[in-house]
């Protein structure tokens, strides 16, 4: 299982990083959202706010890559006729799908780098990471947690042929509910508790607090706890939904 996971990670990372045109999108989107935030906030006297906006925009793209990347990858398997073969493989299906989600999130590291460089060059956002060690741990923890949340979403993508459309629709609700660019204090009260169950909230806080020199380790811990919970839930859902898809004979439909 471990070998299947790492091989899958490596292959999908290479696939996602191969096309320069696709990568240009990875770089453009977070820069775009960060720029909108910079111009709206106009917070030249509050560099921490601008740094948080950069990090928030990068985590936004990580989620988009996971949810759209995994949906797109599954849809691609349908079109290529290989989804049935993957389901029939002796390794658990979650071991095949999880690397797709995690590799998609890992490509988001480009986005993180791009927004930080963009913010520094054009908007004088300070590129000072106060706790480099915690930051180096927080980024992969965030990628893992968001990737595992993507695994839960991927379970539904197995069920529906139009998975890609569903993936696109899941971007904004999660961006709002996790307070990545808009603080939760501005949002209706009921969204606060919802954010506790969503990995991007904790991943963003872990990265933000390590960059600003606060207390990132509890957030990193929450990322790991949520990753384990998502993996358990995602595996169960995948098993169930694959059964349903097989019973309905819809795995081959494009």
């Amino acid at each position: 299982m471990i070998r299947a996971f790492w091989s899958g990670m490596r292959i999908h990372w290479i696939m996602f990083s191969r096309n320069p045109f696709d990568l240009s999108g990875v770089l453009l989107w977070p820069i775009l959202y960060a720029s909108i935030a910079y111009y709206l906030l106009d917070a030249k006297n509050d560099p921490e706010l601008l740094l948080s906006a950069s990090l928030g925009a990068a985590v936004m793209l990580m989620w988009s890559l996971v949810v759209i990347g995994s949906a797109g990858a599954l849809e691609q398997q349908r079109w290529l006729g290989t989804l049935e073969l993957l389901v029939a493989a002796p390794v658990p299906f979650a071991t095949v799908i999880a690397p797709i989600s995690v590799a998609s999130g890992a490509v988001g590291a480009y986005a993180l780098l791009a927004t930080l460089v963009w913010g520094t060059l054009l908007f004088d956002v300070p590129l000072a990471i106060e706790q480099p060690l915690a930051f180096a741990v927080a980024v992969p923890a965030c990628v893992l947690a968001i990737g595992m949340l993507g695994l839960v979403m991927a379970a539904t993508f197995v069920l529906y042929r139009a998975a890609f459309s569903l993936g696109i629709a899941m971007q904004y609700p999660v961006w709002i509910a996790t307070g990545l660019l808009v603080p939760l204090s501005v949002l209706p009260d009921f969204i606060g508790p919802v954010s506790w169950f969503l990995a991007p909230s904790w991943g963003f806080r872990a990265i933000q607090e390590s960059a600003l020199g606060l207390t990132p380790w509890p957030d990193i811990g929450m990322c790991l706890v949520l990753s384990a919970a998502y993996f358990a839930i995602g595996s169960l859902c995948l098993r169930w939904f694959v059964q349903v898809a097989r019973a309905r004979a819809t795995l081959k439909l494009t």
Binding site: W29, S35, I36, L41, Y160, I168, Y172
Partner: protein
């Protein structure tokens, strides 16, 4: 009259093929949920930044919803034929190209306009923004002008699908850039001079500005210049799009790239 038959029958068949297979569980979140949450996201970002009112973001992003379908309609129509390996067969036919592809794009564009109107209504209720009947009529006129301009711009993007393999991603990036460049989410005076200059020749900018002024109680005559500019830009892109459609079909045949996917 054959081009009319191609336009309507081809468009209707393509439209049914596009939506028949989508489950309501996917269709509703994708078509309605996406623009609703986009409007809310930027409205809350505006509240946080204490820049402009909810109405500013509501109008800007509802117009963005219309623009996106205009940008994607044509490119998705051509990219869909490429993906299902029918583009070559289609281009071998003597049918009028504009009727062929516009027939496929127009129903999607109209659906987009309706969805944007629905999202606008839902978000107006959520954000507690209200308009008078006269203001709404003005908004509809501005939205129609923007829809035309964006669809004409989409014709230019769509023509690239005859040459490139992944034009949908390009259309996505262009649509994303419009979030910033058109003034939908950032007041234009806050942007650098070169972006303001660029936004002058892009579709949507003048339409959004006209819509906002009409929603603030301006008369139609007060914004006639903005509306004329929006329609004029649309006409310019429409002519350019027709020329590009012809050029890229010729290029695609010459370089044997029509089947590449």
């Amino acid at each position: 009259m054959n081009w009319l038959r191609v336009f309507f029958v081809g468009g209707l068949t393509s439209y049914r093929a596009l939506f028949n297979w989508i489950s309501p569980w996917v269709f509703v979140p994708h078509m309605v949920g996406y623009p609703v949450f986009e409007i809310l996201f930027f409205a809350y970002l505006g509240r946080f930044a204490e820049v402009q009112s909810d109405e500013f973001f509501l109008i800007g992003n509802a117009f963005m919803g219309i623009a996106v379908t205009g940008f994607f309609g044509m490119s998705a129509a051509i990219a869909g034929e490429r993906r299902s390996q029918t583009l070559l067969t289609l281009l071998a036919s003597p049918a009028n190209r504009l009727a062929l592809f516009l027939g496929r794009a127009l129903p999607s564009i109209l659906t987009g306009v309706l969805v944007a109107a629905l999202a606008f209504t839902i978000c107006a209720l959520v954000l507690d923004v209200s308009f008078t009947g006269t203001e709404l009529r003005g908004l509809v006129i501005a939205a129609l002008a923007s829809s035309f301009a964006c669809s004409a711009f989409g014709l230019c993007i769509g023509s690239l699908a005859l040459r490139g393999r992944n034009v949908t991603l390009f259309a996505d990036m262009v649509a994303g850039s419009m979030l910033l460049l058109s003034g939908a989410n950032v007041p234009l005076e806050r942007l650098p001079g070169w972006i303001q200059a660029l936004s002058e020749v892009l579709p949507l900018t003048h339409g959004i500005e006209a819509g906002r002024r009409l929603a603030d109680g301006a008369e139609l005559g007060d914004v006639s210049g903005l509306l004329a500019a929006e329609v004029g830009i649309g006409v310019g892109y429409f002519v350019l799009g027709l020329a590009l459609l012809r050029f890229f079909e010729y290029q695609g045949r010459r370089m044997a790239t029509l089947e590449a996917f």
